[in-house]
Symmetry: C2
């Protein structure tokens, strides 16, 4: 314990010295990853200065008075990165405030008829009831998802007005001033987010869909490459470098909640620049494509599992299937890249172009499977039983056992924990599984590849549907250069 | 268009009539799903009434004055469902406010030495700079994840104080009053969330881990049952009823962001009731277990894929493997349930008990595989080539093709869209894949089962690590009834 502390104290000056450099690098990295962030930061600073003028400049202050504070508050809270998020928050805030104010005035109207003591009890009771029921309302899944912020603002405003009304005589006047100030703040927010370097959630959703498809394409290609080309040393460096297969499909699998938030914001955005299409922004269809891509991703994960499994098919057997598998995967990759490109350029894709070679590649693989009918025979059989096939030399690697799953896991956790030695129980299991037929993983690999092709079909179908709903350009041959 | 409108208008009275019933059912359902919600709602109502008394009761009002509003605001914004979330938000808010106040007074101290015009310019500039840089700071991944709310409050408070200071003379006094009121509000929140029917995020994380493990166990069991027992009619009713396989693993796969939020909150919670363990609540280890469970879940998804694939192995062949597969899976299920039970009761589990039968079941499956060496022969071979095996009768179902993937997708989307007829391109692909060896999916199924067992190993290891870090009770034989 003391040693730890001493060590940390020793490291402190070193860390302090490096801190400015690390900070600068981080600042630069955040901006380089997405330059719109820097622009947004400037926009917020500018908007805040703008509403502060209400307070700082004499003529403006005459009009708005102390309530200018509420304009500042509105800008801080409502102005978000994308136009959709700003509108969503602004409208939630606006409607929450209006509803709460109406209800508060209704209560005030009723309470006003009675004496002061009764009013205190009445206000206390209504605060309790509205507080409890509004909080309960926030647990409704639908409200939690879409209107949580609005309900919170409703509760806040209702309480502020009701409580203040007890001591302030002309609560209506006070409230009116605040509402004006909030309206000014909201106006600035809308102006800034819609008209000055706007960032669109719809655009983000669109781009993230494209990059997810590309990521899956890269992931599946790398998977198959690794299966057929990996050498012994691969297993050693596996843990230190980031595995591109893993990072690419991981981004797709973890995208659900982010996508749903972006899509919710996108559905608030007006389609200012959509002269071609009268439909609303099809955020639901993007969500659907996202779901289908995740479904495709699960197959890629399973494929990755067979690549990194404990039981390895011997290289000579794998070589037999190398060409048709690689051909099939390159067709799948090509189709995915074509799809990504068509979404990026907002034009429809031609299903024929996408699948004609795929069809041939599938047949090719099928022919290879048929030409090796005795392949999937367990290793217990004598070699005299397999005339057509080169002698499989089982490459059983106990040292590499569990690398796949384990490295998956260790990549997730923060680095730095020493690897634990396998307990006897574990290695017992590992040895057992090593005795299985070495043809099993190859069969699984091929079956999962075919499964990927089947799922690719659904991806193609949904992307076409997306093109239809979002009014993408019609397909033209060589249409990319339009 | 007009027809639609007319139809909707016709349905309106019917909907209005049903609305109260639907509402009541929803209200009841939200409370029944988790009765703590109702308690939390009452707690919020009570806390709000409590802080309102500052305003409503004369002697209290004398002390706090108009600033009582800030206590109300604090309670509305800070009091969250679990203790951890409340503390996280409260501390974020507190530190944001204090930092902002200090900085604002520093600026005020500098600006005060100069004339009014200079002060206005100085305030405007500082608002711009602080606004822009703070907003930029919020894009840092680490800050966005942990301190986003604190940074927002910092910006808000800084602006409020700086702007107000321009017109108010004794800003220090005003601020002090507010800080007192906020402290009272925070005190009420902490009291309510820590001591009166507290809900712990750590508890939530713990329980969700248990139910995820149980869900996976049920899912994998249902998967294998379906593979060996399904009859033709299954495919027909597949789309209407919720598939238990799907719902169970889906909950695990989608748990990442929720889990991370809960874990972040849990790490703020003091371990009030942990007399046994001096360690912090091991939220990171729970997150790790969650990641491993998701990894296990991907294997289950792949298994589900082979169950619902287009190419189906004939029943007679499947029957050969039924017993060892079902035995293996029941052992996997038993191990998972044992793990779930051990976490629920906070006691360690014995790896030997978990895996000894698993080991035997694996060997059993292996023996079966070896005893059917010629199983994985493509359908092109003549039947005279397979002496040991019953005649496989390929059950090729074109009608059922794509049911698996499609039903996955349609379960996701809202029901009600008519099914589209398969386009020629799709069915061409489907036919091609149907010509593949029917042994492929069986091989994939078995390989994935073995993969599940391998991943189960890592689950066991991580749950043991969890037991160690969280100081679960030591394992005792028949220890459940302690």
């Amino acid at each position: 314990m003391m040693n730890d502390l001493a060590k940390k104290t020793d490291e402190l000056p070193e860390k302090m010295k490096r801190f400015p450099m690390v900070l600068c690098r981080n600042i630069w990295k955040v901006g380089r990853d997405d330059p719109r962030r820097a622009i947004h930061a400037l926009k917020v600073g500018f908007s805040l200065t703008l509403v502060s003028l209400l307070y700082l400049m004499e003529p403006l202050f005459q009009g708005v008075g102390q309530n200018a504070i509420w304009a500042v508050m509105t800008v801080v809270v409502v102005l978000e990165f994308t136009a959709g998020a700003t509108l969503c928050k602004g409208l939630n805030r606006g409607s929450g405030t209006l509803l709460a104010a109406s209800l508060a005035f209704l209560f005030e109207f009723v309470a006003n008829k009675y004496g002061k003591d009764f009013r205190a009890v009445f206000i206390g009771t209504s605060i309790f009831l509205i507080g409890a029921s509004t909080t309960y309302l926030r647990f409704f899944p639908n409200i939690k998802k879409n209107y949580d912020y609005g309900v919170l603002v409703f509760l806040l405003t209702f309480n502020l007005i009701t409580v203040s009304s007890y001591r302030v005589d002309d609560i209506l006047k006070v409230t009116r001033g605040r509402v004006y100030a909030i309206a000014i703040g909201s106006g600035v927010c809308i102006l800034m987010s819609l008209f000055i370097f706007p960032n669109w959630s719809g655009e983000d959703l669109h781009n993230s869909t494209v990059s997810k498809i590309e990521g899956l394409a890269r992931s599946i290609e790398a998977c198959v490459d690794k299966y057929f080309n990996d050498e012994e040393q691969d297993l050693e460096i596996d843990d230190t470098t980031e595995d591109p297969i893993y990072t690419n499909y991981k981004a797709v699998l973890d995208s659900k909640s982010t996508d749903e938030t972006i899509a919710r914001h996108a559905s608030w955005e007006p389609r200012l620049f959509s002269w071609r299409c009268r439909n609303k922004f099809p955020s639901q269809q993007y969500i659907k494509v996202g779901g289908i891509l995740r479904h495709f991703g699960y197959a890629v994960v399973a494929l990755h599992g067979t690549v990194e499994t404990e039981i390895r098919t011997s290289k000579s057997v794998r070589l037999l299937f190398k060409d048709p598998c690689i051909r099939l995967v390159s067709e799948v990759t090509k189709s995915l890249m074509e799809l990504a490109g068509s979404i990026r350029n907002r034009r429809r894709c031609s299903p024929d172009i996408l699948t004609e070679n795929l069809h041939l590649a599938l047949q090719d693989l099928n022919t290879t499977l048929k030409s090796q009918p005795r392949l999937f025979i367990g290793p217990t059989n004598g070699p005299n039983d397999m005339p057509k096939m080169p002698q499989p030399k089982p490459e059983k690697r106990l040292s590499g056992s569990k690398t796949g799953s384990r490295s998956f896991f260790e990549r997730k956790s923060s680095v730095g924990r020493e690897r634990k030695v396998l307990r006897p129980m574990l290695s017992k299991l590992a040895i057992t599984s090593l005795e299985f037929s070495e043809a099993l993983p190859l069969a699984a690999f091929v079956a999962l590849l075919v499964e990927c092709v089947a799922r690719l079909d659904i991806v193609i179908e949904e992307v076409e549907e997306l093109g239809r709903v979002a009014c993408f350009k019609e397909f033209k041959d060589g249409g990319d250069d339009v």
